[in-house]
């Protein structure tokens, strides 16, 4: 197995605060890996470093064995990295279809002048793109009925799904999902979990996700990495993590010494 994403001794500080302290992890091709941890553990900071919005103080990031530590977010996108956001970052004024097409922006070859000169080619490209989006994304994510609706008018669960659709249109190798089922009801959560599993099974897309819903995390992940106060405290299969003392402590606090009978 090859690590598609490798994070090596990553540190990030905000002023004097260590948001991340020497985090290392490897995400193997074709797996679903979850990052969990209490609030403020540094999960989203780690995502922001991987997608290029924060610059780490130390450490390096490799995508497909290529050092991307210094690459800009657009560069990382063109190398096959896509992500969704905790607070949904869709283009609110546009329709669902326009949002999804924007995901494919990096793959359109014809530029401004070329699309003027080679009208036919640009149109063929557009038609091919449309078919791909219809078949592989809209049908797959079951959002056919809302394709022409402005995204701002959609309920939260569907907006999350559109965001995933847009990430898929980038034809990524690796998708980062920041809390993909947060705020969803049972049914929406199950749908989303099924989509994530299908993405891996049917398309071999590697997935790294941050999630608080432990049922989902334990059900769909192959590996779980646990952060607390910017440090990695545990990693392994869901079962290993579930049994780890350090994880129980991080979530529930330290066991008090048994005081009964000492008085």
């Amino acid at each position: 197995m090859v690590a598609l994403l490798k994070v090596d001794e990553l540190s990030l500080t905000f002023g004097g605060i260590h948001a991340l302290d020497k985090i290392s992890l490897a995400v193997e091709t074709g797996t679903i890996t979850a990052i969990i941890g209490p609030n403020g553990a540094g999960k989203t900071s780690l995502f922001n470093i991987i997608s290029g919005f924060y610059k780490p103080k130390h450490g390096r990031i490799f995508l497909d064995e290529k050092d991307i530590t210094k690459s800009s977010p657009p560069k990382r996108a063109s190398l096959g990295l896509a992500r969704t956001f905790q607070n949904i970052a869709l283009f609110r004024g546009m329709t669902v279809l326009d949002n999804i097409k924007l995901g494919n922006h990096i793959h359109l070859k014809s530029g401004l002048i070329a699309s003027g000169l080679y009208w036919g080619q640009a149109q063929r490209e557009e038609t091919a793109l449309r078919e791909e989006i219809e078949r592989d994304i809209i049908d797959f994510l079951e959002i056919d009925h809302i394709r022409n609706v402005p995204v701002a008018a959609l309920p939260y669960g569907l907006q999350k799904r559109v965001e995933l659709a847009r990430a898929l249109a980038m034809r990524p190798k690796l998708i980062l999902l920041d809390e993909p089922v947060a705020g969803m009801n049972r049914e929406e959560t199950e749908d989303m979990a099924r989509f994530i599993l299908d993405l891996r099974e049917e398309r071999g897309i590697t997935i790294l996700l941050v999630e608080h819903d432990m049922d989902v995390v334990m059900d769909i992940s192959d590996y779980v990495e646990v952060l607390n106060f910017g440090k990695k405290i545990c990693s392994g299969t869901p079962n290993e993590v579930r049994k780890s003392e350090a994880v129980v402590e991080a979530y529930l606090g330290q066991k008090k010494p048994n005081l009964v009978g000492t008085i």
């Binding site: 996108a77 922006h105 401004l112």
Partner: protein, 290 residues
Amino acid sequence: MEFLLEVSLVGLAIGGVYALIAVGYSLVYRTTRVVNFAHGNMMMFGAYFFFTFAALLELHWSISIILTLLCAAFFGAGIERLLIRPMLGRPAISIVMVTVGLASILHGGAQMIWSAEDFFMPQIFPDAPLVFDGMYIPSNTAYGFLVAVSAIIILVLVFRFTRSGIAMRATAGDQIAASTMGINVPSMFSLTWIYASLTSALAGIVVGSITTLNPSMGIIGLSVLAVVILGGLDSIFGAILAGLIVGWIEAVTGFYIGAAFKDVVPFIVLLGILILRPYGLFGTPEIERL
């Protein structure tokens, strides 16, 4: 009321030119959240570029326009790269102050380069006024309107249908998301300033032809800023509509009430509308969650 139609036509024609200037403001505001107080003076520089090529160097007007647009493109890109981009991430008010400073520099610069005298633009439009059904519209105003409308149409088409236009809209919508989609956000900022500078240069040529050319013509930019606020700072469509409305009100009050009121009444209307709609006619209400 027999002149109402004629006065209205002239007003709407001037309004079209306002709209072209206004579009430059809202382009920059939408994408970079900067209110560019130097926009009027960038327009004035555009007019002087044209004057230099067409009158001082005596080039043909079509070549002069192409050269002016080229200069304006570099001018806009240069301002963005050298003055605005280093300020990214600073408070909005600091960036606005940079544009205010730039406005003074351009004003003074134009006086130093071209002197403070009034010049007449070389005549590019035909002399004869346009006549519709017995109503006269001065030639410069009528053709200026046509130039403005064509420029706006081209701009809207670029925004709707080209890859870079769509990338610019995406950048205006959400910079973080755009950047994740593989859009190079800083280069979209440059492109925005280039487009704004191109529209301002065209507007400068038109305004210079309708009035005269002097370093203070940038002042018109400030009245147009009021137009932009009326339309809603971040709405291109609002800027166009508001331009037409203000042009019409100015012409009608100037004719029926008196020239002295021409500059006042549009602002009174502006105040009235802003009391009812604080975000302008088509602006996006900002909702802040606490």
